[in-house]
């Protein structure tokens, strides 16, 4: 038996990758929960609600008939005005989210460099996270000109926390020995950040993106409630209009579309995360 055999790595066991093929159970689950959702909806709007209050929650087919299948009637009713408003809010949410990502990640990088900076910044971030931003609307209106800027500010304030906390957590997650490897090579702070800390943080950063994206949509919708010039603009504003006029099917349709926007943004970042880090990052369910 030869003792020195440099080509024996293949003898070592390779961890085999599990291929995710089509599984019927992956589709049955969502179908069942969707069915339950529709059933509960019918039960609430047809049985639970007393008759004189049923206008608050029209049945699913009423929502489809009057909310989605009517293109446009009168000044503000129908799918077309809802979509126009939705697009307007979507733009605010996406621009706001972009600002949030740049700002939040910059902040996290700065906080990661010095412990005292981290300690000095945290309390304010937590305060922003938990403060009822919308109660500050008069102040925001007084301090900042321009409806669009005001709407963007609300989006940023509502969505920035998860980006900062997840990025920071990720930047500080590289192992001590990995840092020492860089120290031994005399790596500069920038090299350490770009070649070690930032890539190590990517899984967390993408989690932050997903959470913040959902919050950005919420921020855009509720921002519409308070900041608009003249006519109806964002989806939040049109939701408010329908609510005031008790146009049930349109109200529910516009709420569903606002949620769908959040879902689309969430799915987009999930997809982006898989494309960017799926090759090397694994999640474990313990099964």
């Amino acid at each position: 038996m030869s003792s020195i055999d440099t080509n024996n790595a293949s003898v070592d066991e390779i961890i085999h990758e599990q291929k995710d093929g089509f599984k019927i159970s992956d589709y049955v689950g969502p179908a069942v929960t969707f069915g339950l959702f529709i059933a509960i909806w019918y039960i609430i709007s047809g049985i639970v609600l007393p008759e004189h209050k049923r206008f608050l929650l029209p049945t699913p087919h009423e929502v489809i008939d009057e909310g989605f299948l009517v293109w446009r009637t009168g000044e503000r009713r129908g799918l077309q005005p809802i979509l126009v408003s939705l697009w307007d809010s979507a733009k605010i949410a996406l621009i706001g989210l972009t600002i949030t990502i740049v700002l939040g990640m910059t902040l996290a990088v700065i906080m990661s460099t010095r412990r005292w900076l981290e300690r000095a910044t945290w309390p304010f971030l937590v305060a922003v996270q938990s403060a009822p931003i919308l109660a500050l609307t008069p102040l925001i209106r007084a301090l900042i000109d321009g409806t669009q800027t005001q709407r963007l500010l609300v989006v940023v304030l509502i969505s920035i926390f998860p980006i900062v906390s997840n990025t920071l957590f990720g930047l500080l997650s590289a192992e001590k020995s990995q840092h020492e490897l860089f120290t031994l090579q005399g790596a500069s702070r920038w090299v350490r950040l770009s070649k070690l800390q930032f890539p190590a943080a990517l899984p967390n950063i993408f989690v932050g993106f997903r959470i913040s994206a959902g919050l950005a949509v919420i921020g855009a919708v509720v921002g519409d409630f308070y900041f608009r010039e003249g006519g109806v603009v964002g989806i939040g504003a049109i939701i408010q209009l329908y609510r005031n006029r008790l146009w049930g099917p349109e109200l529910i349709a516009s709420i569903l579309l606002a949620s769908a926007l959040g879902l689309v943004v969430f799915l987009f970042f999930g997809w982006l995360s898989r494309v960017a880090i799926g090759k090397w990052h694994t999640t474990n369910r313990g099964q």
């Binding site: 440099t6 070592d12 890539p199 990517l202 090397w280």
Partner: protein, 258 residues
């Protein structure tokens, strides 16, 4: 070949001394004395292994040699630009393939891309990972990760290789196979080695000299020259002289615990 030495007669300098500890001591800021009067050197062509009870400061020796920590007394001289350091864990970057992981240290030293790629390919072949260049660490077994880690250090062709209990987490078969490979690389690449381990048989199998450290504060209490030539095979582990030397070291180590 039992040779009990005191610290003092080992500080003589050789022309070929690559790593020299001269009366090195280390006291941590909290007052813990980790190392005391450590004197020994590692010459070209030597593979020195340090065994000792856990917590005796063995790893601190390497951290001082590589300047990760500064000793509080004495002098440690080594060419710090020519050190390879193999950590307890493979410290691979999960987001890099084997190829890119092996290139990392060369990349940090700003070696041009084409050169570091060819050097990495060479090192990957040396450690027997050819064909796995495009795999990510999570797709490799523990032994293969350690090979990649070795290759990463080999790329810089260091004169001194520091090993901090690198194979402690591996199963015995993999560990013995990697022992052979390191021994083989030691001969073919011509570096000097300073190896830390818990395992006496690993120490004897790998080294030209074994140092035994005492419990904290760590001092070198015994030194054994290993008489076997460098062409060692697996069967050596079952030779009577091998067992005898292991027994002597074990005896010294037992003393170290008191």
């Amino acid at each position: 070949m039992f040779d009990m030495q005191t610290g003092t007669n080992m500080i003589e300098q050789h022309a070929s001394t690559l790593l020299d500890f001269d009366n090195v001591s280390m006291t941590f800021p909290d007052g813990t004395k980790a190392l005391e009067d450590i004197s020994f050197s590692v010459n070209a062509g030597e593979f020195v292994t340090v065994v000792g009870p856990s917590g005796c400061g063995k790893s601190t020796l390497l951290r001082i040699a590589s300047n990760l920590e500064a000793n509080t007394g004495g002098v440690c001289s080594v060419d710090r630009n020519s050190i390879g350091y193999v950590f307890q864990d493979p410290t691979l970057m999960a987001w890099r393939t084997v190829q890119r992981n092996v290139e990392l240290i060369a990349e940090l030293h700003k070696i041009p891309k084409s050169e570091r790629q060819s050097r990495a390919a060479e090192a990957i072949e040396l450690v027997g990972l050819k064909g796995f260049e495009d795999k990510y660490p999570r797709q490799l077994s523990g032994g293969m990760r350690m090979r990649a880690s070795l290759a990463r250090s080999l790329v810089m062709k260091p004169k001194v290789f520091l090993f901090d209990e690198p194979f402690g987490a591996l199963d015995e078969i993999t560990r013995e196979r990697l022992n052979d490979e390191v021994l083989h690389l030691f001969q073919s690449e011509g570096f000097a080695g300073l190896f830390i381990t818990h395992s006496i048989s690993e120490a004897v199998y790998m080294s030209t000299k074994v140092l035994v450290m005492s419990a904290r504060p760590g001092r070198i209490i015994a030194s054994f020259d290993v008489p076997f030539g460098l062409n060692r095979t697996h069967d050596l582990r079952y030779e009577p002289q091998f067992a005898e030397l292991c027994g002597e070291i074990s005896h010294a180590l037992r003393g170290a615990h008191q």
